[in-house]
């Protein structure tokens, strides 16, 4: 329990100054990292970008789409042809076309869902390419968030330049420069933080090398019999590589794709309790910092409301899952099984930190694991699913806050009507055009989770290990994880099939870009609207009543949709004794 409280307290304490720093970075105020400006300018010249040129929502959105598409194409090529490309000391062959497509989709969407085992199926070049995506995709999410926030502050490209509430036509739709925002997110936020984390993790024993796999002599040689032949195994090949750099950004950038198949459950990826604390902290750091950033940009009171609602969800689920995991699996009901649910957990971490990690990694769209989610108690599995259904407390870097803003829009619409005015968000009216886009995103979730789940289960495409209710959870989890751009797996799926790769790739891409582009478009529309002054007839977004409305909207409009499938999956599994 103490470790849980300690990690949460540290996360908030560190996220606060980080959020303030990020707000200053993205509003062009002076920060201590300004010495990087010449280097950044060099990058802009290299990319052929004029950093002073602002973009409207269309320009911003197109830049985002095309740059991501181009990067995904390059990644796909590298994965398929890695066998003949350099930096491949272990002579790993090329990836199959469908797994490569899924992997490219998975990494360009900040998801890192893996239908392969990294240490065996990727060359160092591929691993480093993936590490690059781990850096750039959270920066893309952050950039999109900052662009959307600019529309609501009513200020132009530089957030700090406080201009009159109604800007003239020329500057009104300016949401900033996409390339500048992504670059700053990289150079000033993600890279420096990763540097610190990578060094700390290396100090704890996480490998960081370009040399090939190590071959070690077994202290206790094993005799194995296979195919009628008996042999004595005396040595073992241990894959190493640039692990700590990848793990640092994997945790910080809500990425989650591990260097090793078992992710942070593997001893080389997460060797000690201290490395575990550092990595758990890293899961939460930027997702919480983005809330503080919102507070600094849109006003502290609004920030407190957002923080309050998110924290309520987050803490409730942490408490719930820790309590659930302290119980033995229902399959052991009646047996004298002492203590909690130890299956699939690393003894060096313990139950509470593993349960904490499981809920945080799903709350933040991170997806790294330090224990096997497949082995969670059925209801704990439901908690991780619910975390991903919400996907906005705290959510992924940038996108979590964007998702939350969508919920806020929905709450504003309903609460706005209830106070007898056309709903307004920061003084700008929410009208049919905006509500259409909000509705689209609401519709997307059941469409992209329930529809493929029903197809996979109904048409027998699931290819999974468990025939019962738990089997439903496995498939549901995979698509929910893809939708939430989370990336963690329930495992137990033979997921390297064409169906899994294709269906997940489609869900990944649609669930990443539509929920970014739709709010961006809304922001663009809203930026062009006249701003109504605040009066006592205006809905106050910071009021407790509005916080309750937002909370209820998330529960009733979003979570309630998944009650039937949760009943068929984890709830029934729980009632049926863990099957």
């Amino acid at each position: 329990m103490t470790d849980v409280v300690l990690i949460l307290a540290l996360a908030v304490l560190l996220a606060w100054p980080l959020g303030r720093y990020m707000a200053r970075v993205f509003s062009g105020q002076r920060v201590f990292t300004d010495f990087l400006t010449p280097a950044e300018n060099g990058l802009y010249r290299l990319m052929g970008v004029d950093p002073a040129r602002g973009m409207n929502w269309r320009g911003y959105g197109m830049a985002l789409l095309w740059s991501n598409f181009a990067m995904a194409v390059v990644l796909y090529g590298v994965l398929v042809f890695q066998g003949s490309l350099p930096l491949n000391p272990d002579r790993v062959g090329g990836m199959s076309w469908d797994t490569a497509l899924h992997t490219a989709a998975s990494f360009v969407t900040n998801t890192n869902q893996q239908h392969y085992s990294g240490q065996a199926q990727l060359s160092y070049l591929s691993q480093m390419m993936l590490t690059w995506f781990m850096f750039v995709t959270p920066a893309v999410g952050l950039a999109a968030l900052v662009a959307i926030l600019r529309a609501f502050t009513g200020r132009d490209g530089n957030l700090n330049e406080h201009t009159h509430t109604n800007l003239d036509e020329r500057t009104r739709g300016n949401l900033g420069n996409y390339y500048v925002d992504v670059t700053r997110g990289l150079t000033r936020v993600l890279i420096p933080l990763s540097l610190v984390w990578a060094l700390l993790l290396s100090a704890q024993g996480v490998p960081s090398t370009f040399e090939g796999a190590r071959t070690v002599q077994l202290i206790d040689p094993q005799t194995v019999t296979a195919g009628g032949q008996t042999a004595t195994v005396t040595e073992q090949v241990i894959p190493v590589g640039p692990v700590s750099a990848l793990v640092a950004i994997k945790q910080l950038g809500t990425n989650g794709g591990g260097y090793y198949g078992p992710n942070s459950a593997a001893p080389l990826e997460n060797p000690t309790p201290l490395s575990n604390l550092l990595q758990t902290l890293a899961i939460l750091l930027i997702p919480i910092a983005q809330v503080f950033m919102i507070g600094y940009l849109l006003g502290g009171r609004f920030g407190r409301m957002v923080f309050g609602v998110m924290a309520t969800f987050s803490l409730s689920f942490i408490a719930l899952i820790v309590a659930l995991e302290r119980q033995p699996n229902p399959a052991f009901a009646g047996l004298a099984a002492p203590g909690g649910n130890w299956e699939g957990k690393e003894i060096r971490f313990g139950i509470d930190p593993s349960a904490l990690w499981a809920t945080l990694t799903t709350q933040t769209s991170n997806g790294s694991v330090n224990a096997m989610h497949d082995s969670l108690n059925p209801l704990s599995g439901a908690v991780t699913l619910v975390d991903m259904f919400i996907n906005a407390a705290w959510g992924g870097v940038g996108v979590g806050a964007i998702n939350f803003l969508l919920y806020v829009m929905l709450a504003v619409f309903i609460a706005g009507l209830m106070v007898g005015r056309t709903p307004e968000l920061f003084g700008r009216r929410l009208e049919a055009r905006e509500i259409k886009l909000v509705s689209l995103v609401i519709l997307l979730q059941p469409l992209l989770i329930l529809l493929p789940t029903a197809l996979a289960l109904g048409l027998g495409l699931a290819n999974n290990s468990n025939p019962g209710h738990h089997g439903i959870s496995q498939v549901l989890y995979e698509y929910t994880s893809a939708f939430a751009n989370n990336g963690s797996g329930f495992e137990g799926l033979g997921d390297a099939t064409v169906w899994w790769n294709m269906s997940c790739a489609a869900v990944l891409v649609l669930a990443r870009f539509i929920p970014i582009l739709a709010p961006l478009a809304i922001a663009g529309f809203m930026a062009a609207k006249r701003v109504a002054p605040v009066t006592s007839g205006t809905l106050r977004l910071e009021s407790p009543a509005f916080a309750v409305t937002t909370f209820s909207v998330i529960v009733i409009v979003q979570l309630l949709n998944f009650v039937p499938v949760l009943v068929l999956g984890p709830v029934a599994a729980h009632l049926a004794g863990g099957r």
């Binding site: 005015r421 056309t422 259409k436 109904g458 006592s536 499938v565």
Partner: protein, 682 residues
């Protein structure tokens, strides 16, 4: 006639469910089952399709010899749900139509004297066309809406406004409009007809409450989009369920799935949404306001700034003498006498109030002194009036600057104190009139504006609602400021010309505010058109009425406040019932989900928190509740939820508690009760 009419109008005003409207609505409920009409409302269309599916299932049961009662019961209950929603819309329409029709009876088939050259020919009012000149004599009914071109008349408008006091309407003034169905009491007028039959504002309003030309308002469209999306979400949720269940070899009864779908989609608000919109228009009509579009009513709720004319809205129409202030060396009685003498033949309310105040303070003019007095009437040029009494007394009163000039001309000096007195009175919010006797300045009479009782509280309430009030007056800034302070308005414009209103509206709009104003003159037309809500008085000119988006039949200057409340109430009713509808889903889940999986997942009965009798009765109870809640909420939808003016915070909290928490709790109780009743039969 006007008596019966009033009777009819009162009835239309009072009963929510008067029997003829209900009978009409029941008939329409069935004709509205037409699928093309149902398609207009996606939420109810899904229920309609669900009805057909359930009906098909029941028929299939019948043919194959399986028990068919349950499927048929579901089908009938779903049909009932659609009928109830149709009924709500039809009832709202019927009531609106009845309300409008009572106004229209006043104008049915009247005789008109059309002027052709010099002669007048009698025709039916239905033959009148825009631009026709008609003659209306004393005692006749006005056959069509129009503007007086010649003459002056006293008109009884009680048939339209319900106000018994007759009003004066005169050509060439801002009060030259006459309405069909009103009666000319005295005078003879020539009126130019301003609309063709069937095209008057009232006709347009009637079309708005009836189905054909009803356009959805912006917020209604946005809400419909959201409700459609939510409906689609639940279609997905329910349609995927049997496939997912098939993985664990659970087969789900199709009719229960249809029931689940219908219970989860927002049928309550979806079914009541059209009725709420129509009822909003209807409430405006009941307040004797003709809205030219549903949008206008809705926008009224968003208004941030109210532009109010001082006279008639904030103060009583007439100023009253409140004080005599003699200059040094002049006895108060002498001032009173001169002032009263100057007003001896002044028939204006101001003049009479001076005589009355003098008398009250002990200075009465002998009636005979007025005989043979030579009256100097007030003109806009001289800006003074008075009388020469037979005794040789020349009493004058008038605007200070004018009177001081006259005093100087006559050779008497202006007392030093006089300008100070004038200033002091003006600063106090009153209008100073300087009184002279044979050219010598005696002192000042103060004419005070009387601020209406209760107006201050009203403005305080508006401020709590977040509305800014701006007073518009022709008074000088000092007077205006004093009255503004007394009435508690937020701002004022003094010495206002019509173009100032337009400028102010544009300024307010540039700051992001929505502005409402009321006006009657042709001068007001541009401002009325520019304002987001322009309310024209029915007594006003045609230009004003054309420019405005609402017309007040009562010509009541305080009507703006009422219109704002109607707009807000309309939005709140939509929002609250949406919240209520969604909150209901929680209880419905608890009723249906355990029933749906009852056989397949045994432990699930733990979720049956309501302890419902059997899976069958649980599903039926939820569907019955879902159907019955629509007619149960019809009165609320038609009347609008009760609106207590207050800040947004207090409104949100209040409505969240009533409709959110209430919507959460009520169905648990109601479904349990229905289940007990259903248990007796199943």
């Amino acid at each position: 006639m006007s008596l019966e009419l009033k009777q009819a109008r009162r009835e239309a005003r009072e009963g929510t469910f008067d029997s003829s409207a209900v009978a009409q609505a029941i008939g329409k409920s069935f004709t509205y089952l037409n699928p093309r009409r149902q398609l207009r409302n996606p939420v109810m269309f899904v229920v309609w399709v669900g009805t057909l599916v359930a009906l098909y299932l029941a028929l299939a049961d019948l043919v194959t010899g399986r028990p068919w009662g349950y499927d048929l019961a579901i089908a009938l209950l779903l049909l009932l749900t659609v009928l109830f929603a149709n009924f709500a819309e039809a009832l709202a329409e019927a009531r609106g139509r009845a309300q409008a029709a009572s106004l229209r009876t006043a104008r049915a088939d009247l005789r008109a004297l059309r002027l052709v050259g010099e002669s007048a020919q009698e025709i039916s009012s239905t033959q009148l066309r825009r631009g026709d000149q008609i003659l209306i004599r004393e005692g006749q009914l006005v056959p069509a809406d129009g503007e007086i071109r010649k003459g002056l008349a006293v008109v009884d408008e009680s048939a339209i406004t319900g106000e018994s006091a007759p009003v004066v309407r005169e050509a060439g003034t801002d009060r030259d409009g006459v309405t069909a169905g009103t009666r000319v009491l005295t005078g003879e007028i020539v009126v130019e007809v301003t609309s063709n039959p069937g095209e008057s504002f009232l006709d347009r309003m009637i079309a708005l409450v009836e189905g054909a030309s009803r356009q959805k308002t912006p917020n209604e469209i946005a809400l419909s989009v959201l409700l459609s999306a939510l409906t689609l979400v639940f279609v997905l949720v329910v349609a995927t369920l049997p496939f997912i269940a098939s993985f664990v070899n659970i087969s789900l009864p199709a009719s229960t799935l249809v029931a689940l779908l219908v219970c989860l989609i927002p049928t309550t608000i979806g079914g009541l949404l059209p009725a709420i919109g129509i009822a909003g228009m209807d409430r405006a009509l009941r307040a004797n306001v003709i809205a030219k579009s549903g949008k206008a009513v809705e926008v009224a709720g968003d208004v941030d700034t109210l532009l109010l004319d001082k006279t008639g809205t904030i103060t009583l129409g007439d100023r009253q003498a409140s004080e005599f202030r003699p200059v040094q060396g002049v006895a108060a009685a002498r001032l009173r006498y001169a002032a009263a003498a100057a007003s001896i033949s002044d028939a204006t309310p101001e003049g009479k109030s001076i005589v009355r105040l003098a008398r009250d303070q002990g200075t009465a003019l002998e009636p005979k002194s007025a005989e043979g007095a030579k009256v100097i009437a007030f003109t806009a040029q001289t800006r003074m009036s008075g009388a020469d009494l037979p005794g040789g007394l020349q009493a004058r009163k008038g605007a200070p600057d004018r009177m001081m000039a006259l005093v100087r001309e006559s050779g008497h000096g202006v007392p030093d104190e006089l300008p100070l007195l004038v200033d002091e009175i003006a600063r106090g919010g009153a209008t100073p009139l300087v009184v002279t006797e044979n050219g010598q300045a005696l002192g000042v009479v103060a004419l005070s504006d009387i601020v209406k009782t209760g107006i201050r509280e009203r403005f305080a309430q508006l401020r709590r609602m977040g509305l800014r009030t701006v007073m518009v007056t022709g008074d000088n800034p000092l007077t205006a400021q004093a009255i503004a302070a007394e009435a508690g308005v937020d701002d004022f414009i003094a010495e206002a010309r019509p173009e100032d209103k337009l400028r102010l509206i544009r300024e307010e709009q540039a700051r992001g505010r929505l502005v409402a104003m009321m006006g009657d003159g042709t001068n007001d037309a541009p401002a009325l058109a520019q304002a987001d809500v322009g309310l024209a008085m029915n007594s006003g000119t045609q230009a004003a009425k054309e420019a405005a988006n609402m017309i007040d039949l009562d010509s009541d200057p305080t009507k703006l406040l009422e219109v704002v409340e109607i707009g807000k109430q309309l939005l709140i009713t939509r929002g609250s019932l949406t919240t209520f509808s969604r909150a209901n889903d929680v209880a419905k889940y608890f009723a249906i989900i355990p029933a749906l999986f009852a056989g397949a997942v045994p432990g699930l009965s733990a979720l049956n928190v309501m302890q419902l009798e059997s899976p069958t009765s649980a599903v039926l109870s939820a569907v019955i509740f879902n159907a019955l809640i629509i007619p149960a909420l019809v009165p609320l939808a038609l009347r609008g939820v009760s609106y207590v003016p207050g800040s947004a915070d207090s409104l949100l909290l209040r409505n969240l508690l009533i409709y959110g928490l209430g919507g959460l709790a009520l169905p648990f109780v109601a479904i349990k009760l229905i289940d007990l009743a259903v248990g007796l039969f199943v």
